[in-house]
């Protein structure tokens, strides 16, 4: 489970207070670790807490319980040294689902990409900066012509590429992508996932990829965690998880993957998973090499 020291998510819990009386437990005791250079996928239905994990890892949300350790730094610690803060800001980058709202509609692409550089006072020299921007646009397959465009003038796929370019600019060591392909249509999804794969191979960053498209996760990720109702229920290397899912929720999720054959698609049965209403004692059990399942005792 916690076999790496790079990113450690330890017993993370988060509770959202909707009103004074109503609260929602978005995360309940989630623990996992991400190794350097690894692509970890997190899948699960809407509302299972995937995005909350991403936001806690990025320090956007302060978890109500547990902690996130990034390379020895407690992300949500009350007091961090300046160096630690700058490291967190530079080395972790996030890519959001909706590139339309993740980019300020009033800024040109040039200003959007310059923002992290301005904040940290990097490459102030005009020519060097221009070169850096063009180089990073090239990484994501955009030509320098888009620099003067505003996000509203770009297509969804191009906007998402701009978001990725902005994340790459700081040469991050950890990229958290919160459903980066969910708002794109299928052909563009394939492009972006391919792009992630190439970029990861080229730059070697660690990647936390959150999605609900199982095919994309299977293609991209080294390891996959399955979340359900705020809990991490299964965590295994991709091949192993897809070949022999153990948790009933994972089984139901994988069975729901569409088969591109109408005859088989029509005739098959999809198991339905009902989460137990009263949670009895559950415990992480190792069922295979690096394969863990949350099982009832």
């Amino acid at each position: 489970m916690l076999n790496s020291d790079y990113v450690r998510v330890e017993h993370l819990s988060h509770r959202f207070h909707l009103t004074r009386k109503i609260a929602i437990d978005a995360l309940k005791d989630v623990s996992f670790a991400i190794d350097r250079g690894e692509i970890l996928g997190l899948v699960g239905e809407s509302g299972s807490g995937k995005s909350t994990v991403a936001r806690c890892v990025m320090g956007i949300l302060k978890p109500t319980g547990g902690r996130v350790i990034y390379d020895g730094i407690d992300v949500n610690a009350a007091k961090l040294s300046r160096d630690e803060n700058v490291r967190l800001q530079k080395e972790r980058q996030i890519i959001f689902q909706d590139s339309g709202s993740a980019l300020n509609p009033r800024m040109s692409v040039r200003r959007i990409l310059s923002e992290p550089l301005d904040i940290h006072g990097l490459s102030r020299d005009r020519e060097a900066r221009e070169k850096l921007l063009i180089q990073n646009l090239d990484f994501v397959g955009l030509d320098p012509g888009v620099l003067e465009s505003r996000p509203g003038e770009l297509s969804g796929g191009q906007r998402q590429r701009v978001s990725i370019a902005r994340a790459l600019l700081m040469k991050p060591k950890l990229i958290v992508a919160d459903e980066p392909i969910a708002s794109l249509d299928v052909s563009i999804q394939a492009q972006i996932v391919n792009l992630f794969k190439h970029l990861q191979a080229e730059h070697g960053f660690t990647f936390l990829f959150i999605a609900h498209d199982l095919a994309m996760v299977e293609f991209l990720c080294d390891r996959v965690g399955v979340m359900s109702k705020g809990r991490l229920v299964e965590l295994a290397p991709t091949r192993q998880l897809y070949d022999s899912p153990q948790h009933p929720y994972t089984k139901a999720l994988l069975a729901a993957m569409p088969i591109p054959d109408p005859r088989r698609e029509r005739s098959r049965e999809i198991p339905v998973y009902h989460a137990p209403e009263y949670v009895t004692r559950q415990e992480w059990t190792r069922v295979g090499f690096d394969h863990y399942v949350l099982m009832e005792r």
Partner: protein
């Protein structure tokens, strides 16, 4: 966008290690041509109230060039000709003390406009900082700060102005600007706060904070460009309001003393002028004041129309 450019690679089979290392290395899939991309044409018609802008510009220019238009001391009293009707020597006549109204209009306009601008600048700065802190802060702080503004708004501003003026002592241009400035920020602050409250949830603000953008960075780069258009109208109206308030105060004898010439202090002579039938003493400064205020209202309304027509970025 050309169709060849949208080449999509099939997901399966998975690329081998060798492929990843060699051929696929740096072959970006689905490169998009942006040269032949259709650019949106900005065909938005901007209708500005040119007449109001021109008139206001003439008045402002006249005030700036007061020394050239009406050289000499504006408060010089020609004791031989008090309350003289407009004539060749005094185009707008003289007041009860024999001062040239023509000279006073331009010199006094300086003071009136300066008070308007100073008071507005002060109130805008207070409103932007207050509104942003309230909008971006935690819920309890927001509630507290908004209740304070509501208390402030519920008290007649004239009362607060008179009260503050009494504390500050004899009025001068700066003190009256400060008084008018610190009493006119709550409405702008409320608008700023509402806009910031909605903007701070947006992902580009969250992203900026993640990248390490501090309060001032986010305020300048993300909040301000978005709320500036919606407060522009109020800012212009604030200039108008400050000029009008200064006139009101001076007319009531609470504002600038008689020896500091402003449009308002000129009007404070009005009561005596009305009795003697010297219409030019009250009508001419009044006309300048009203024309200036109407022009500003027009510009303000046009700005509001512009903001409402365009797509909101919330």
């Amino acid at each position: 966008m050309s169709h060849e450019a949208l080449h999509v690679q099939h997901l399966h089979p998975m690329p081998t290690e060798a492929q990843l290392a060699g051929e696929l290395r740096f072959k970006v899939v689905g490169r998009l041509d942006t040269h032949d991309m259709p650019r949106p044409v900005s065909g938005r018609k901007v209708r500005l109230p040119w007449v109001s802008i021109a008139v206001l510009a003439i008045i402002a220019l006249g005030c700036l060039l007061a020394n050239i238009i009406a050289p000499g001391d504006a408060s010089y009293m020609d004791l031989a000709s008090p309350a003289k009707a407009p004539c060749a020597q005094y185009p707008f006549g003289t007041d009860m003390m024999g001062r040239s109204i023509f000279a006073m209009i331009w010199h006094g306009g300086r003071v009136s406009l300066l008070i308007g601008v100073l008071a507005t600048a002060l109130s805008t700065v207070i409103a932007v900082v207050y509104g942003t802190v309230s909008g971006a802060g935690p819920v309890w702080l927001d509630t507290l700060m908004m209740r304070v503004t509501e208390i402030f708004l519920s008290v007649p501003s004239l009362l607060i102005v008179i009260f503050l003026q009494a504390i500050l002592g004899p009025a001068n241009v700066v003190s009256i600007s400060v008084v008018l400035g610190v009493t006119s920020w709550p409405t702008i602050a409320k608008v700023v706060r509402t806009e910031v409250r909605q903007l701070r949830q947006s992902e580009y603000v969250v992203a900026s904070r993640c990248m390490g953008g501090g309060f001032m960075h986010v305020l300048i780069h993300h909040f301000a460009p978005n709320f500036l258009s919606s407060i522009m109208f109020m800012v212009v109206m604030n200039v108008r309001g400050a000029i009008a308030s200064e006139s009101t105060l001076s007319f009531m004898g609470l504002g600038l003393p008689l020896e500091i010439i402003s449009w308002g202090s000129m009007l404070s002579n009005a009561d005596r002028a009305l009795l003697t039938g010297a219409w030019w003493i009250i009508l001419i400064p009044g006309l300048f004041l009203v024309v200036t205020l109407v022009c500003m209202t027009n510009i303000g309304n046009a700005l509001r129309g512009e903001v409402n027509r365009g797509e909101r970025n919330l």
